[in-house]
Subunit: 160 residues, 2 copies
DNA sequence: CATCTCACTTGCAATTTGCAAGCAATATTC
DNA sequence: GAATATTGCTTGCAAATTGCAAGTGAGATG
């Protein structure tokens, strides 16, 4: 058994008390999947910043600590938001790819970003972003989808 | 000084390490405002379920504990998502109203709900909801806005 | 005045987080 | 091919947060 196969076996348990039935209500279900800041930020990195490797997530501005990172990646894999793969060109590396389920969250994510852009006085997002999304949401979504496809196309053959 | 004026003075501090600069990046900013399950669920209660009173939040299915409830309400007031008012018809009661800032989140919230409806196999949301939102997002948003207006119109005169 | 309701506050045990090390499995360098 | 990096985690703890149960004080109620 290689170390790459043992992921998610230990460490802190799931984020908070989300073990049981945080489903049914749509808002509650979403809270159970990405309703903590780290999961949320990781999804941003995967969906919007093209990050795929453990080390890339670790180097994010927010400086997530490594045990929490491992825990949240496992959580996102468990909830079907990411799939985990061994890099065939360098078998000590691992990458995570967004699934259809997480990609389907892009519209909502962009909606949140438009909101932040409007209400965060220190926002770093350019006005053009909110403008673009408001004038052509479908096109903006399609653009982000295409970016994801590009990133994933450049990855090595996924194992397994 | 009445007890109603002392809210938010003590208890647990803010959710996690969000004291400093969780702004700039739009996703990070959003995470700082409602990126924890309880804030998220409270916003749902205010925006979608017409809840306004402390006691109403407390009675939600998710059974938030009272100290966390007080803490999160204070957080949402601090971040400009809610305003706190004393009920003029019964001065020991307090209600919280959504601001323009939190109402502006409705589109994103509905987007999240559509996503959950699609991916939570145990969803309690009817198909008709996602269908309605997809075919007429603006109309659906307007409907929820109007519901909020109705609820708020029925509240006593806010103090202060 | 006695009692009840409401909105919190407080104390404390149980979790969870964050930080710093450690570690096994490749990769790379010499 | 042995020594040294890298990479992706795991582990140990102290510190912070959560959850639970039990107050508390202001105001309403009878």
């Amino acid at each position: 058994m290689t170390k790459a196969d043992t992921a998610g076996s230990a460490g802190p348990s799931k984020p908070k008390g989300w073990n049981k039935e945080w489903n049914g209500c749509p808002v509650r279900y979403a809270a159970g999947v990405f309703g903590d800041k780290w999961s949320f930020v990781l999804l941003r990195d995967v969906l919007l910043h093209g990050k795929r490797y453990y080390g890339e997530f670790q180097r994010s501005e927010e400086r997530i600590s490594t045990n929490i990172l491992a825990n949240r990646l496992a959580h996102l894999v468990e909830t079907g938001m990411l799939t985990r793969h061994i890099d065939s060109t360098s078998r000590n590396k691992v990458f995570y790819r967004p699934t259809a389920k997480s990609r389907a969250l892009i519209p909502a994510f962009l909606g949140v970003m438009v909101w932040s852009t409007e209400y965060d006085s220190c926002t770093e997002a350019p006005d053009s972003f909110a403008k673009a999304f408001r004038s052509d949401p479908k096109g903006t979504i399609a653009w982000y989808e295409a970016e994801i496809d590009k990133v994933d196309a450049a990855l090595p053959d996924p194992e397994p």
